[in-house]
């Protein structure tokens, strides 16, 4: 009896301690500002969350070479597929990993939530600025001096993947303008297939198309945000696709499903306006079509234009609360600028490096077997140089994407239009900013 009583007391006390420490950990760990970025003494262990296929092997290489800075990598679903939600929860709970993969479009969201460490004072970061493609550095520094809220990893310059064999066999010209693309869409439809699938949930792809057309969705003048999902350019792009949807010239299957893979795998969809990393998606989703694909520059709005959009591309950020920003930064710099790492990332996941030196990697000059040995990265290099640096992302992109996607879903089901979806997304975004007291101009 005495023993059980003591056991019960111990159990109770333990539970109470757990409860108390649990609470305090959740509370006040975020108020330390940018800590000095100094190396720690002794061995350091870092945690890193990413969703790049094959990232474990790259981290292994680092771990072997750096016994004092050991990185434990954790993989998850892609950012908007759940990893960002996890990051936000972990930040709220004060137990975020040291490093995380964040796409450029989500960086403002994390910065607004005070989730990112400014790495500008860390050794080597500001020196690295010139090593990265200008617009990617603009995204991680928010175009501010003395700021680097992440290290750019890869970018997603957009081009057009197309079924070279089918276009040729049917005598259809490869479209170079969106007008020609619509004409080709009719010709492709006449064969029973679709020229492409309009994605109802990849709003970042749609943003890339708007980006190419010269539009921008957000602005930030330092005192206020502006939200502009419904400017002339965005509406022009929305109307263009709405027309193709209305005429049943594009399919509207939910993307990233087996059904969608199947459409590409069986030749029911002929093109995909996607980013460099999309090469990996096609190869894994449509394995039966190996050797039949090719890459061309995106169709242009005016013949002779040379503009490209960007879809995706990630950075490596250090989260608020990391005790070892110095070591974390060293790892992030190595991961995103060493030729060893960039070569591995390209081979495993077709990542197109944000580091300028990475663009000259031998692996990026080689022909890619899946694309009939076309050196496809030449096309992406051209596209990369044509991406405007002016596109700004909003501070609640998860919400903006959700709301616009809800509208796009309705539009492809015949309720409303893509332009209406943008209008709804516009007001929903403004509401979301206001709800968080983020200053916004109406």
């Amino acid at each position: 009896m005495r023993i059980t009583k003591r056991a019960a007391t111990v159990a109770l006390l333990t539970a109470a301690t757990v409860a108390i420490t649990g609470c305090s950990a959740g509370g006040g760990s975020t108020d330390s500002a940018d800590a000095a970025c100094e190396p720690a003494e002794g061995k350091v262990e870092l945690t890193f969350t990413s969703w790049i296929p094959g990232i474990e092997d790259v981290v292994d290489v680092w771990n072997k070479a750096n016994p004092d800075i050991q990185v434990a990598v954790q993989t998850g679903p892609n950012g908007n597929g759940g990893t960002y939600a996890n990051f936000f929860n972990q930040l709220e709970a004060g137990n975020a990993p040291d490093l995380g993969q964040i796409e450029y479009d989500a960086l403002p969201n994390f910065r607004v939530q005070d989730g990112l460490v400014n790495l500008a004072s860390c050794d080597g970061v500001m020196d690295a600025k010139a090593d990265f493609v200008d617009w990617t550095w603009g995204q991680v520094s928010f175009n501010e001096d003395d700021a680097a809220y992440a290290i750019p990893q890869d970018s997603g310059p957009m081009a057009m993947f197309y079924r070279a064999d089918l276009f040729e066999a049917n005598g259809i010209a490869i479209p170079t303008t969106w007008e020609e693309y619509a004409v080709a869409a009719e010709q492709v439809r006449a064969t029973g297939a679709y020229i492409t699938n309009f994605s109802q949930s990849d709003i970042n792809q749609f943003a890339g198309l708007v980006w190419q057309a010269g539009g921008t969705w957000f602005g930030n003048d330092g005192t206020d945000w502006t939200v502009d999902l419904t400017d002339e350019t965005s509406i022009k792009v929305a109307d263009y696709w709405q027309d193709l949807i209305d005429r049943d010239l594009v399919s509207t299957q939910p993307p990233w499903t087996t059904e969608w893979d199947n459409a590409y795998n069986t030749g029911a969809a002929w093109t995909w306006n996607s980013a460099a990393w999309g090469a990996n998606s096609i190869a894994s989703g449509a394995p039966d079509t190996a050797g039949k694909w090719a890459v061309a520059q995106s169709p242009q709005w005016e013949a002779g234009d040379e503009a490209s959009g960007n879809w995706g591309g990630s950075s490596t950020a250090v989260f608020t609360g990391s005790e070892h920003p110095y070591e974390a930064t060293q790892f992030a710099l190595w991961l995103n600028s060493s030729s060893e790492s960039l070569t591995m990332l390209n081979k495993a996941a077709n990542l197109y490096p944000a580091a300028k030196a990475g663009l000259d990697l031998p692996v990026l000059k080689e022909g890619v077997e899946f694309f009939g040995n076309q050196p496809i990265y030449d096309e992406f290099a051209t596209a990369s140089g044509q991406v405007s640096a002016d596109f700004v992302w909003g501070p609640t992109m998860t919400q903006t994407y959700n709301d616009v996607s809800d509208g796009f879903k309705a539009a492809v089901s015949g309720n409303g239009t893509l332009a209406e979806a943008l209008t709804t997304g516009q007001s929903a975004t403004i509401d979301a900013l206001k709800a968080q007291s983020i200053p916004v101009k109406e």
Binding site: A19, F88, T223, T398, D406, A432, S437
Partner: protein
């Protein structure tokens, strides 16, 4: 967040009958023993129910303030600001209406089937009871997400083994997707509810059946006039569980969202909570959760009161 109504409703449905006279007999003879038995439960209950609920309520009373476009957020007491937003939020109430419509149809169908299967298993006419008992229960062992993915393939217009049907009837369209989901939920939970009802049937003393047979009642008559009234408490219990489950639909619509154009980020109340918290706007998400939990509680409690009054008559 909204799970709290579950044990409360559970305790209530079981509460009024059994323990009434007992505590007085024991008095407080073994306070330490009682404490030891209660403490493990109390600790877990506090940690995993009371504290999170309290935290959600606390969060829902805060609003965020900040200066500048990237200003640091400070949370200040905002009273019922978030609740006003909840009540002004059209999509939230639409999602509640949607799951209510879902529940009104799906719950009776599911429980009807569960009752039918339980009665069949209990009837002396059926052979291979063990096999059927297991066969009906197996879907419950399939995790909800897997079940939803599997059914997604079955509904798929091009990949389904039943394309002759699915290419003509679009189960994933706005008109049908709610019922397509209802079918998945029914498939998963019929066996589970059947087992609860079946175990209540097993507890009925066999003398009652003998008496009924002596009075000339057939199997149908026994089922209708004896079995069903006696197992009413079990049916009510499954009813309450199902109402709670309906309001908390998350996994199935979340999975369907990726392959159906008709499932939006605000399709069910819990999906709405999920998308709000990933903005992240935890304060508003907390307010949604609290309102949803209250709605669940009110609904389960009124259902209980309603059925008890009927029993009373």
């Amino acid at each position: 967040m909204s799970a709290p109504a579950l044990p409360a409703a559970d305790a209530r449905s079981a509460g009024p009958r059994s323990p009434a006279p007992r505590p007085r007999k024991i008095k407080v003879a073994h306070p330490r023993a009682i404490a030891i038995f209660i403490v493990p439960f109390a600790i877990l209950f506090t940690l995993f129910y009371l504290v999170p609920i309290g935290y959600a309520i606390y969060q829902s009373l805060l609003v965020v303030e900040r200066d500048g476009t990237f200003g640091k957020a400070t949370e200040v007491f905002g009273g019922l600001t978030q609740y006003i937003l909840v009540f002004q939020n059209g999509p939230f109430w639409e999602s509640i209406t949607r799951v209510l419509a879902f529940g009104v149809v799906q719950v009776p169908v599911m429980l009807g089937l569960a009752l039918l299967f339980a009665l069949l298993l209990d009837s002396p006419l059926l052979r291979g009871k063990r096999f059927f008992r297991l066969a009906f229960f197996v879907p419950y062992a399939v995790p909800g997400v897997i079940a939803a993915i599997m059914w997604g393939f079955l509904y798929s217009p091009n990949l389904s083994p039943f394309t002759a049907l699915t290419s003509n009837v679009s189960f994933l369209s706005a008109d049908l997707v709610l019922w397509a989901i209802a079918n998945v939920v029914t498939w998963v939970y019929v066996g589970y509810n059947m087992l609860i009802i079946y175990s209540a049937l097993l507890a009925i003393p066999t003398e009652i059946y003998e008496a009924a047979r002596l009075d000339g009642a057939g199997q149908l008559r026994i089922a209708w006039s004896i079995k069903i009234p006696l197992i009413m408490p079990a049916i009510v219990l499954t009813g309450i569980f199902s109402i709670i489950g309906t309001l908390q639909l998350l996994a199935e619509p979340q999975v369907f969202r990726s392959f159906s154009s008709a499932v939006t980020s605000t399709f069910t109340p819990n999906l709405m909570v999920y998308s709000t918290s990933s903005i992240p706007n935890v304060n508003l998400a907390a307010a949604f959760s609290v309102v949803l939990a209250l709605a669940t509680f009110v609904l389960s409690f009124s259902f209980l009161k309603f059925t008890q009054r009927k029993e009373g008559k």
